[in-house]
């Protein structure tokens, strides 16, 4: 389901950070949000997820859905009702749960136990993590942890993905690998995806991108 941002405006106590008139992110499309640190890239993401620090003032509509009738407005809903999969540069796996439990925790729906466990195993297999169900997150490598955290988000059936510099902490080789994996998943699951980064190379070549907080008057350029 495509995601639409309308009349978004986010301001810190000092200045306006983000202004967006209208922006549509299609299914399976990655929208890159670029800009230097402190420019408000992450604030845009937090606003979409509904977890923006109250010291910012923000307004604007977030819609998701195919056509006008079935479209849902998200910006008035609580963070957990929005079901937008959020990911950070730290994998933030729950350290008190095993890999399998981490995945199960996010999984929605009321399928029988066997089905749930089966889906977890299938997902892990897809990510080359077969047999990792009972491992502790601390025993995984950085790349494996990142993959598990993406799987956890995907299993929660999100309406869209919000990625906050998801590749920043990985070394170059892993970065390449994980990037390909993420974009593959985005295409396969047909999710609209908002990706915050300060590296152009983190984005697929064909993707749309906006830049935040670059000009002195903080107006955004929409390319």
């Amino acid at each position: 389901m495509p995601m639409i941002l309308k009349n978004i405006s986010i301001a810190s106590p000092l200045r306006i950070l983000v202004q967006i008139e209208r922006l549509t992110i299609a299914n399976g499309e990655v929208l890159g949000v670029l800009g230097p640190s402190g420019s408000g890239k992450s604030s845009l993401l937090s606003y979409c997820a509904g977890v923006l620090d109250p010291k910012f003032s923000a307004s604007g509509e977030i819609w998701i859905g195919k056509d006008d009738e079935t479209r849902i407005r998200l910006d008035k809903q609580s963070p957990q009702e929005r079901k937008l999969g959020l990911m950070f540069q730290d994998d933030l796996l729950f350290p008190n749960m095993s890999v399998g439990e981490n995945l199960l925790f996010g999984m929605q729906g009321h399928e029988p136990r066997a089905t749930r466990l089966h889906r977890v195993r299938e997902m892990l297999k897809k990510a080359d993590l077969e047999g990792y169900v009972d491992r502790r997150p601390t025993s995984l490598s950085g790349g494996q942890r990142s993959r598990v955290s993406l799987l956890r988000t995907l299993l929660s059936n999100p309406r869209a993905l919000l990625l906050d510099e998801p590749f920043a902490k990985l070394d170059p080789l892993l970065r390449l690998e994980f990037r390909a994996f993420v974009f593959q998943c985005v295409r396969d699951q047909e999710l609209p995806c908002l990706l915050v980064t300060h590296e152009m190379t983190d984005l697929p070549a064909e993707s749309k991108r906006i830049t935040v907080g670059l000009l002195s008057d903080s107006k955004d350029i929409l390319r």
Binding site: V51, L84, L86, L92, L93, E101, R116, R152
Partner: protein
Amino acid sequence: MIWVSRIFVLILFFIPAAFSMLGAFLGSPSSSGTGALADLFSNYTMGAAVLTLKVGWVSTALAILLTGMALGWFRLAKSRSQHSWWTTGALGTLISIPHLSLATGLLLLVGDSGWLVRVLGSLFPGREYAFQLDHDVGAWTLSLFLGMKESLFLIYVGLPLVDSVGASRKIVNSLGRSNWTSWWWVEWPQVLHGLRYAIWAVLGYSICVVDVAVVLGPTNPPVFALVLWDWIKDPGESTQALVSGGALMLLALVALGVFGWEGALWSLGRFKSWLLSKGKIGKRPLPLSPMLLFILFTLILSVVALVLWVFGDSWTIDQPIPPAWTLEFAREGVSSMRGTLIQTLGLAVSSALASIATVLLWIEFDSRAHTKIATTAVFLMLVFPALIAVIGLDSMLSRVGIYHPSIAVFLGHMLFVFPYVFLVLQQAFHQVDPRLALVAASLGKSKTVFLLKIRVPLLKGSIAAAFAVGFAVSVSQFLPTIMLGGGDWTTLATETVASLSSGNRRWVAVYGLANAMLPAAVFLFCSLFSQRPEGSTCR
């Protein structure tokens, strides 16, 4: 300097601590006779042992549940800064009030012809209300009380842990889960993990507690610590073997308690895993505020009950509150307890100050590696049950032959004051920028000068806090005082317990209240100094 500080810690803490542990295992000097075995494993003691385990588990489980609720509430509260003064202030004051005082207050509140009976009697006259705590065969009052009081300690220890929990709630929310789900499934388990040793300490305390069990516990059978306590008080030769056997048995009970708790925790983990695989992840928060408020209310009413009995006059059983007020008993009490008060203050002030000086000198001068080992030892001492430690220290001191009541009592108090003071100061110590010491050294100042001119002024607030904590710990010590003091030392704690056998409620209240007010006043006074000094380079 480094040697002076090392010798200090060794003499004041480590040798006594090693003594007490060694002594507990070796038993008392005149271990004789196997006839004691029959007494040790009689039906009576076995019943007491089972009851003790129940008290330990019920109270610890309750304390943990309450802690989880309270900490979750703090974590989810929108503006925590509003609560912080209130919580640390109120929490700290309630913690500084000894268990014994609150227990006597609770006795006066819900016990036989207590306040509750009087209120009920005046509201619904013509009926007999009798709550006799020594007939509380299941020791429920004792368990509930320990759970309530110990939860305050766990909350206090857990508050800083809450801020350090990894994996943000944003992630959980984005997975479609509520804040409370995030707390109970993700954040709380991490805090619980950090509370592990504190929980062991709570378990050990509940299993070994004597003074509170005297006040609130049942009598037939009593908890095992009281059985042991009876043996200790009996000076006969044959009981010596019984005492050392009993100490070992108590140690075994603590071990069993901890083992059972860890087992329960493991099963809970399995159960949660199963719930996850079934997809049964609760959404609702547990009903917490009423329960927490009820507990706070009960504890505060216990203190009020003490006040009523001290200052109330000619209060009969059918009146909800005293009809008249008087200062006579308070005045009489204060004049008669002057000697006790001086001894209590002397012990508390000296052990708190000695601990502070020792800890400061030692962390400043000794190497990091040594203090790391020490931290383990200190934690071990916190978990090690008091009753057993005191029995061990007692037997070792008399074995070595340096027994003098004053020294023994002082060392006994140090055994319990030192670990708490160490914990408070050690944390603050490492918040001072370590580069300051390098700067001072490069300016040609010795470590001693740095300690006195820079470190101590910077840590003024924490030193005040450590003093309050050490003071409160010392005031609450019943066992070390009475066992090691050989009758020469009376403190408010020992007198409170002694007053219970007199059966005079007013005396119980007078001593209980004094025992509560002294550490609470010191705590409030010290908290005036506990604000962070301006312009300090604290990270």
